[in-house]
């Protein structure tokens, strides 16, 4: 599903320069990997680079999907149009606070990625996810009328509504109470496996990661940056 090697991303200049290094990453369909590490180690930077939002300073290989689309070449060529297309089609983003559009109802927020791609708005998988996540009664509400947990569940359905290959989640449970966080984590894991997606989840919550026995990509601080490696 995802193959990546020698990714280096640099942020800042001079003494504030920080380099994030990911030597190697392999993800198969249904895999969910937790990215863990101390604050400021570059977890979000790594997620941005993997989400094609940040141009790496160095990148060996980055292929996605069964046809192994060469994302590294697109990043090298800075082909913004192709990158935006892949971002909207093959990637799903789950943001810390949901990132829902306040002027759209829950239903329209969830449908937006599908509308953008010209897909039929109705989808059995989306309906199923809404049922599982208890969103059916909230579909006509605006995000402002939802609790934080409801927003995160809505954001998750929106992130997987267009059935992306890779789900990138940036601390999705950070704003939730432990019980709600546990529930959301469990649902993400279940649906990722059901839909044969791959998922990378940035999380500070070691207990939650341990509880679900997720494989981890751990940050190790190095002089001038950090290095992410799978925990053995």
């Amino acid at each position: 599903m995802l193959t990546l090697s020698e990714l280096r991303v640099t942020r800042g200049h001079g003494s504030g320069r920080h380099e994030v290094h990911l030597p190697r990453l392999e993800l198969a369909a249904g895999d969910m990997l937790a990215i863990v590490g101390p604050s400021g180690c570059g977890k979000s930077t790594l997620l941005e680079a993997l989400g094609l939002l940040l141009k790496p300073s160095e990148l060996g290989r980055y292929a996605l999907g069964p046809e192994a689309t060469d994302l590294a070449a697109l990043l090298r060529d800075a082909d913004e149009s192709a990158l935006a297309t892949i971002r909207s089609r093959d990637l799903g983003f789950l943001l810390q606070n949901g990132g829902l559009l306040p002027f759209l109802s829950v239903r329209d927020n969830i449908a937006l990625p599908r509308r953008l791609l010209g897909l039929p708005v109705l989808s059995d998988r989306v309906d199923h996810a809404c049922d599982v996540l208890d969103l059916a009664a909230l579909l006509d509400k605006r995000p402002a009328a939802l609790s934080i947990g409801e927003r995160q569940r809505t954001a998750f359905v929106r992130a997987m509504a267009h059935e992306p290959r890779l789900l990138l989640a940036d601390e999705p449970t950070a704003a939730l109470d432990p019980q709600a966080g546990e529930k959301l984590f469990g649902l993400i894991l279940t649906l990722v496996q059901e839909l044969d997606m791959a998922a990378l989840v940035v999380s500070h919550d070691r207990a939650l990661v341990n509880q679900f026995e997720l494989p981890r990509l751990v940050a190790t601080l190095t002089p001038g940056g950090s290095r992410f490696e799978p925990e053995s």
Partner: protein, 412 residues
């Protein structure tokens, strides 16, 4: 698992339009504030322009409605033949021209009976196309005359009545009086011609001049006098009318080039032009000031709006909207608010205009003045408003252009 649809461009355009409307509606208080700022400029400007246009139009209409303003009077006499008159008529600015006999011969007595008569009434040659007689059912031919209202009043006659037209001469020591029965075929309002006068066929005037010059005139019932068939027709001057107000200056110039002194209402016409220019300048300065203020206010409001919604734009970009889509999103919002404001502004103009017109109709000072704009004016106003909207959209788009999708992650 993943699908690779090719998004239809028009679907995406429709989606952007729908999102833009949904966002405006969700944020309707702010949207209304922005639109209200625009209405506050559009409605007063339309009213001001409507009044300016109405005042100038009324002045111009008064000028054009009164054909005396088109007349170029020759102050000096000469001797002009028919070909000279043809040349005058051929001038593109001339609407009507007819020869006149010598001043002394343009007078005659009009008698109804012993109690009702006028001595030395002004006889004015006329023909079809005479602007002064515009609206008259008939034009004087042969012995038909059109009387000015003051002449008719003093003679106590109306259309269809008959009068005696008489002229006297002294020939070979003898006082002779020629007479002719004429029929009143029309009356000319005093507003058009304030002096007692009779408008007659040019041939009658020439006959009177011949009679005074000592010729026999069977028409006037005097057989005594010279009998010359080849009497040359010469005119001392001419009645000349310009085709329109703007043509007066050209005709005056052409006549003065022939050393013919003239009198006209060019000054009044220039006055209207000057008023139009000054009102235009005043309106232009006010409009420019208001538009600059409006532009600054709208641009500020939209820039603040873009900053406020930075995260939403970042999310839209994260979901796959590219920069042109975000630009279209903002431009559509500016355009929609502008159209809404223009519609409301136009409605308020119609309302204000109706109030103005009702008030002006009852005012003696401004009777006839109406606040009015033409469809072309409305379209120009719309184009100007959309121009302002375009500038605002450009400023907003430039502000939003650098918003990166990653901001949705960083600022979330």
């Amino acid at each position: 698992m993943s699908q690779s649809p090719s998004p239809v461009r028009s679907c995406r355009a429709g989606l952007i339009l729908r999102l833009a409307i949904q966002d405006l509606w969700h944020d309707r208080q702010v949207s209304l504030c922005i639109a209200a700022a625009l209405v506050a400029v559009i409605a007063p400007l339309l009213l001001l322009f409507g009044l300016k246009h109405g005042v100038v139009n009324q002045l111009q209409r008064e000028l054009l409605d009164d054909p005396r303003n088109l007349e170029i009077r020759m102050l000096t006499s000469g001797s002009y033949d028919e070909s000279w008159l043809d040349e005058v008529r051929a001038h593109p600015g001339v609407g009507f021209a007819i020869g006149q006999t010598r001043s002394l011969n343009t007078q005659a007595d009009l008698l109804r009976d012993r109690q009702h008569f006028l001595e030395g009434v002004e006889l004015i040659p006329t023909a079809a196309g005479d602007p002064l007689l515009a609206g008259q059912a008939r034009h004087p031919e042969s012995t038909g005359v059109v009387l000015s209202e003051p002449a008719a009043r003093r003679l106590g006659v109306s259309v269809g009545d008959r009068l005696t037209l008489a002229a006297s001469r002294r020939l070979e020591g003898q006082q002779e009086r020629g007479q002719l029965q004429v029929e009143v075929i029309g009356l000319l309002a005093a507003a058009r011609f304030a002096r007692p006068a009779a408008f007659v066929d040019l041939s009658l005037l020439i006959e009177l001049e011949r009679f005074r010059d000592g010729h026999a005139s069977s028409l006037l019932g005097v057989e005594h006098g010279a009998q010359r068939g080849d009497y040359p027709v010469r005119f001392a001057r001419a009645r000349i009318f310009a085709r329109e107000g703007d043509a007066v200056a050209g005709v005056v110039e052409a006549l003065e080039a022939q050393r013919i002194e003239t009198a006209s209402r060019l000054a009044e016409i220039d006055n209207v032009r000057a008023i139009s220019r000054v009102l235009g300048l005043i309106f232009g300065v006010i409009a420019a000031t208001a538009l600059v203020g409006c532009l600054a206010s709208m641009a500020g409001a939209f820039m603040a709006n873009v900053d406020r919604k930075r995260r939403e734009y970042a999310v839209l970009r994260l979901l796959g909207f590219q920069r042109p889509a975000i630009a279209a999103f903002i431009a559509l919002q500016v355009g929609l608010l502008t159209l809404l404001a223009f519609g409301v502004g136009l409605g308020l103009f119609a309302l204000g205009s109706a109030i103005f017109n009702r008030a002006l109709a009852t005012s003696h000072m401004a009777a006839g003045v109406v606040s009015h704009i033409t469809p072309a004016h409305a379209l120009i106003a719309l184009a100007l408003t959309l121009g302002v909207a375009l500038l605002v959209a450009v400023i907003g788009v430039l502000r939003a252009f650098n918003i990166q999708p990653a901001e949705s992650l960083r600022e979330a």
